[in-house]
């Protein structure tokens, strides 16, 4: 089946991001297709490559990036939510005259239409938030 996932909370602060990740892994193991994972609200903070969690804890960004690479997943970060919260890729950095960017490999920044498209294209979309 074709599944979509929407993540509305940030890493570590709220369990939603863990639940979404574990759900995604299980769905892939069951042979389902994940059409897109859309990061919205504080969910966009999952996408920063600058995080340095304690060594004995999970690395939330890294495991998203690795999952995306392994399964060719489409990890989309909402541009409007990302701008508010300071998640930028190189294009956004230049466009807004900022001196740094922080997006991690495997994530791309795009518009809210990508969430709507996922709702149209997928058989199911599951939301994880607070």
């Amino acid at each position: 089946m074709k599944l979509g996932i929407c993540v509305l909370e940030g890493p570590y602060q709220h369990e939603a991001s863990d639940t979404a990740y574990n759900f995604a892994v299980a769905a892939l193991e069951k042979g389902h297709e994940i059409f897109r994972i859309f990061f919205y609200h504080d969910g966009v903070n999952n996408a920063t490559r600058l995080m340095v969690p304690p060594q004995d804890d999970r690395h939330i960004q890294q495991r998203w990036s690795e999952l995306a690479e392994k399964h060719d997943l489409d990890l989309v970060v909402c541009v409007a939510a990302a701008q508010r919260r300071g998640i930028l890729d190189e294009d956004e950095m230049k466009r807004h005259g900022k001196d740094a960017n922080n997006i991690a490999p495997g994530f791309r920044i795009s518009g809210l239409g990508q969430l709507i498209e996922a709702e149209i294209e997928c058989d199911r979309v599951v939301f994880f938030g607070d």
């Binding site: 929407c6 509305l8 919205y40 609200h41 409007a80 939510a81 518009g111 809210l112 239409g113 969430l115 709507i116 498209e117 709702e119 149209i120 294209e121 979309v125 939301f127 938030g129 607070d130």
Partner: protein, 135 residues
């Protein structure tokens, strides 16, 4: 993307305390550009999103209430508000903002988009929709 789906946006949170109300509204506005059948549901604390008379100047945040009022311009004409949720909060329809649309089947007459429904009807509206976006 040929098939039209019934989209239901479910709003259960109060405005301002968290960004859920505002960023939900932003999805609705963007989603309106897609050719889908869109409806909004307000229940539990979500009904507070429609209480009129916001003045956000002292709080210092943007007043996004006018965007609700403008939803009619985006061809959104189905706004379901749960009666029990209003009653439990001591609210009536008179406490809510006006939301209108122009009915193309009735010579573009301006009509209210707000439909007060019972909890049972709200449950049925959820069941009848194809996809639910929860904020």
């Amino acid at each position: 993307m040929s098939e039209v789906k019934n989209f239901l946006y479910v709003n259960r949170k109060a405005p301002h305390g968290t960004i859920y109300a505002l960023e939900s509204l932003e999805v609705v506005l963007i989603g309106a550009a897609f050719e889908q059948d869109v409806a909004l549901a307000f229940l539990d604390d979500g009904v507070f999103q429609l209480v009129k008379g916001w003045d956000t100047s002292e709080l210092g945040v943007k007043n996004f209430q006018p965007a609700y009022t403008a939803l009619g311009d985006y061809d959104i004409s189905k706004v379901y508000v749960e009666r029990e949720s209003l009653e439990e909060r001591g609210l009536t329809e008179d406490d809510l903002i006006e939301m209108t649309y122009e009915d193309e089947d009735d010579d573009w007459a301006e009509k209210s988009s707000i439909r007060i429904v019972s909890r049972e009807e709200m449950a049925q509206i959820m069941r009848d929709s194809d996809v639910i976006l929860s904020f």
